[in-house]
Amino acid sequence: MALFKVNNIRIAGIAATVPKRIMSNLNYNFVSEEERKKIIKLTGVEEKRISAEGVTASDLCIKSAKKLMDDLGWKPEEIDVLVFVSQSRDYIIPNTAHHIQAQLGLPKTCAAFDIPLGCSGYVYGLFAAANTMAAGSIKKGLFLAGETPHFVVSERDKASHPLFGDAGTATALEFSNHAPTMYFNLQSDGSGLQSLYVPGGGTRLPLTEENSVEEKISEGIYRSAKHLVIDGVKVFEFTMREVPDNATALLTYANKNIDDIDWFVMHQANLLMMETARKILRIPVDKTPYSIRHFGNTSSASIPLTIVTQISDNVSSGKSNWLLSGFGTGLSWGSCYIETGPVYCPPLIEY
């Protein structure tokens, strides 16, 4: 099993940026009013943020990173690693992390790389960044997670369009001999690839004039090969089957139990899925913050966005124990248990 411990790394701060533009699902006129109400009830998404034309996930992450660096007093030349988790990359080649490294004025001695993961990306990315730093030669690192899913979602797909929003986040990581151990449990199952994927645009199915035309898939669902496919039932079954067991195995590995957790922060997939997973794990609702109502599913950004918008006062003021759980496309999922000191969280940034 992919169970890991990472020592000597602490989370110094988390910042999140969302676009100013609000898109309300109450105005999603592609479906009837009755269906709109049912979609909002099931997903929990009343509104989400959609970035202005020309604004990318990296732009949102850069805003977050600059604010965090300024407020923490971190100088660019102190940062030796930058990890960017996103499927909304600026370019096919090269990695977006290099563009971000230049925009933030980080030195050429900084290692920078992308991890193109989706909804599990915050947990995976946190592991990758923290583990890179754990040997001790790197003292400060930035881990950015952001997504602009509207680029791959069909406006005429009632299963996906109401669900997704844009956001970009930054997490500041610091080497500290006093930091408690972080615990991770990472998993994957590529046999479920087609339950949540974009079929076209890669090398396996290049986009053509023919497959770029939207077709009716079913009532209320029109897509082309460049659009995200969601098999909601399969994804729900996957979440119910795997996410609680993954978290339970992690807690056993860390020798912790549910009562040790102050905050259970899940990837904001959709409300029905999250509530089902929470109830299976028997974690109280007041320990389980949700941001999905106002921001939708923002993929890898959703865990840090939830921390910043829902529990920042609590986590900024003292110690707390977090169980984080990310799950989604791949299929890919993972959880981590972290005991944090005060984590600085500036107010949500709008851009």
């Binding site: 979609i39 099931l42 039932v233 729900f236 089957r241 109830k279 299976i280």
Partner: protein, 80 residues
Amino acid sequence: MIYSEDKFLRRIEEEFTEIKPGSLTPESSMPKIIEWNSMNVLLFLAFISEDTGVRANYDEVKQFDTLHDLYLFLGERVTA
């Protein structure tokens, strides 16, 4: 099951407001009563998980023609 078959039917009626209260019988079939689209399937699977603790999948649920058969299946899974 944690409750009786009658309670099971009434709970389904509570969860799916488009179903007339008191109308479900053990011989009822969900796909014949409400639109059996992915949204309602998700809500039904979530309802089963919450009320019975059984993490059933759609392939398992759809093999039963009646709610009575499904109730028996869930009862076996609970006691398994």
